[in-house]
């Protein structure tokens, strides 16, 4: 019988089928762990006297609470609070107690959980990947089934390497046509979310298909899959192809064996299908307080959308007239080398506009090293931007990197919820190209004229 990519991956990892009374038991190939959503799960294990069953399939990193400023003269990292430091130390203790490998501070492989998994070659096609983090959907770019779980389920995976799961529905999102050079994976993602809404994907695993998806780099595919959750979807997937395998060869430092069966069969049936004309997508920005309030940066604020009061925007106002106070480049959505190169293309030989603060935060130690070896950091510093240590930073603003009330932040992250980047802060989501163009212009800008 013809099967979708999702069905093939699901069946490969199925321990027991679901019944009316009980969900399926799904085996987990890779469990990623970070400091924020794991401590209470380890506490449950301790209370029950259970050990981590497969530390070899578990990988922990530190990203959310860690400062992105270097240690001071005393050697102490400038944690925002004692609670933040305690959270990092708690993860360290838990990993030591259970033999879980940890990419600790000082480890040159550390970084944002969804950046390091692929970078280290741990994320592979056909796997199930979970993490106590909704943007786990990122790893679907490799043809893995990857989704976020809550802390109780983190405990389930630690204890048994399995999860009780109902089989989700499937939706094909087919991008037709070829977009222009200024349109990135981020713009395709925002266009899709604008089309189906923040609940359009609820209950579904999305599979992205079409020639413009095939043309995307792994970085672009990760950005798109990362944002699947913003459409409410459980996960996003892209069938592996030569782009995927050669990325993995690079990450593994050797040729990895190809798996030729990971694609959707021609006659396979999806529960839903939508089509998006990629050739009509323009560089996108958000203008409201949910990611589906997205439109071309060159357009005006549409009428009747919730959230524009909070954003202090008016209906009909041209988005390129909106002044910017801050620009943030980073996160598991757009904190990879390709993203920083895109920013470099726009910033090269230009200056960040007066009065605009620009923060550039690499997604991992490796991204930082690679960017520095290409001289990107000097270019950023010369343009007047700040260059930080790896971490989630202003994506979630829990490490002290945050805006002030009223700030307007053009951000390459994934959520423009009220207060996400600090109380009273207004967030405009955009691609790295659009963010960099806006930094130079001092207002929201379409990157077209800066390339």
């Amino acid at each position: 019988m013809a099967k979708t990519l999702f069905e093939k991956v699901w069946e490969r990892n199925l321990v027991t089928q679901e019944t009316d009374e009980r969900p399926a038991i799904l085996h987990i190939s890779l469990h990623l762990v970070h400091e924020v959503t794991s401590p209470q799960a380890f506490t449950v294990l301790r209370e029950r006297g259970v050990k981590v069953r497969r530390p070899d399939l578990t990988l922990a990193t530190i990203d959310h609470s860690v400062p992105t400023l270097p240690a001071g003269p005393s050697g102490e990292l400038p944690y925002v609070t004692d609670a933040a430091r305690n959270q990092v130390e708690t993860l360290r203790k838990n990993c030591a107690e259970h033999g879980v490998p940890l990419l600790d501070l000082g480890d040159d492989r550390r970084g944002i959980v969804h950046v390091v998994g692929p970078e280290l070659g741990r994320t592979r096609p056909g796997m199930t990947v979970v993490c106590g983090d909704s943007h786990t959907s990122t790893h679907g770019a490799f043809g893995a089934l990857a989704f976020g779980i809550g802390t109780t389920e983190v405990g389930h995976v630690l204890a048994t390497q399995s999860l009780l799961q109902r089989r989700p529905k499937t939706m094909r999102v087919n991008f037709v046509g070829t977009p222009s050079d200024t349109v990135t994976g981020k713009d395709l993602a925002l266009a899709m979310i604008a089309k189906i809404g923040t609940q359009g994907g609820t209950g579904y695993v999305l599979e992205y298909t079409g020639e413009s998806i095939r043309a995307l780099s792994m970085e672009g595919r990760m950005t798109l899959c990362n944002m699947s959750i913003e459409a409410g979807a459980r996960a996003g997937m892209i069938a592996p192809d030569e782009t995927t395998w050669s990325y993995l060869d690079g990450a593994a430092g050797e040729s990895v064996s190809r798996d030729d069966n990971l694609f959707t069969d021609e006659d396979a049936i999806f529960d839903a299908e939508i089509e998006i004309d990629a050739s009509a997508v323009k560089p996108m920005v958000t203008f409201g307080t949910a990611p589906d309030a997205a439109i071309a940066a060159s357009a005006s604020v549409p009428a009747g959308v919730e959230g524009i009061d909070y954003m202090d925007l008016e209906e009909g106002q041209e988005l390129t007239s909106v002044a910017v106070t801050t620009v943030f480049v980073g996160s598991c959505t757009n904190g990879r080398l390709e993203d920083l190169r895109a920013v470099g293309k726009v910033l090269g030989g230009r200056k960040v506009a007066d009065g605009v603060k620009m923060l550039i935060v690499p997604g991992s130690e490796q991204v930082k090293r690679d960017a520095e070896s290409e001289g990107l950091h000097s270019l950023f510093l010369e343009a007047g931007a700040e260059w930080r240590e790896p971490g989630c930073s202003m994506c979630i603003a829990m490490n002290g990197d945050r805006g002030q009330p009223g700030d307007l932040v053009v951000s390459t992250s994934n959520r423009n919820f009220k207060g996400r980047q600090g109380e009273g802060v207004r967030t405009v989501l955009a691609s790295p190209l659009t963010a960099a163009a806006s930094a130079v212009a001092g207002h929201i800008a379409d990157p077209g004229e800066y390339l």
Binding site: Q40, R48, N86, I149, H156, G424
Partner: protein
């Protein structure tokens, strides 16, 4: 081990009519540095309930006695955003035991069910009715999968396994632990 059972609940409602209430509203990220799960009551809807100075606002959530209003009636699409289980923990710390909307985000719903916070999906016209009568008393019967208010009887559905666990107070981890031999056999066949 057992979890707190949920069989039925009769209580009044608090209405938050906003659509798309996301997990950053339910609990802002700066409260996520905790390593425990208690003491999250003040963090719940913190930035709606407190001014930057720390002064309490006159928001409904501050002026209502949640111990007699344990049912949160939200706008369409509740709980989108992050996987933080701190969101249901915080709602429960404030006193809520059920959330009603027309759509509830996947991960939030799954997290809530595991903690005894009942997510209930109702049709738009029922939600509209509930929005018009803030504070109305509702009876929720999980066994019958029905909620009743005034002379309305509305049925809802809950994933059968999660429902069974809630009714019996059973911890789903026990089910997985008892399946470890199957899991080992699967791993053995894989390698």
């Amino acid at each position: 081990m057992s979890i707190e059972a949920f069989t039925s609940l009769t209580s009044r409602t608090v209405v938050l009519p906003e659509e798309n209430i996301d997990t950053d509203q339910i609990i802002p990220a700066r409260f996520l540095t905790t390593t425990g799960r208690d003491s999250l009551a003040d963090a719940c809807f913190h930035d709606w309930r407190f001014e930057a100075s720390g002064k309490m606002t006159d928001h409904t959530l501050n002026t209502t006695d949640i111990s007699s209003h344990k049912i949160l009636v939200a706008g369409n699409n509740f709980g989108c955003g992050s996987s933080r289980e701190h969101a249901p923990w915080a709602l429960m710390a404030l006193g809520f035991r059920a959330v009603i909307s027309t759509e509830i985000a996947d991960i939030f719903r799954s997290n809530s069910l595991k903690n005894g916070l009942l997510p209930v999906i109702v049709p738009p016209e029922v939600l509209a009715d509930l929005h018009e009568q803030p504070g109305v008393e509702i009876s929720i019967d999980l066994d019958a999968e029905e909620l009743r208010f005034g002379n309305h009887v509305v049925s809802f559905s809950t994933e059968p396994f999660a429902r069974r666990c809630l009714l019996d107070g059973q911890d789903s981890l026990d089910v997985l632990l008892s399946a470890v031999p199957d899991i080992e056999a699967f791993e053995g066949a894989q390698s």
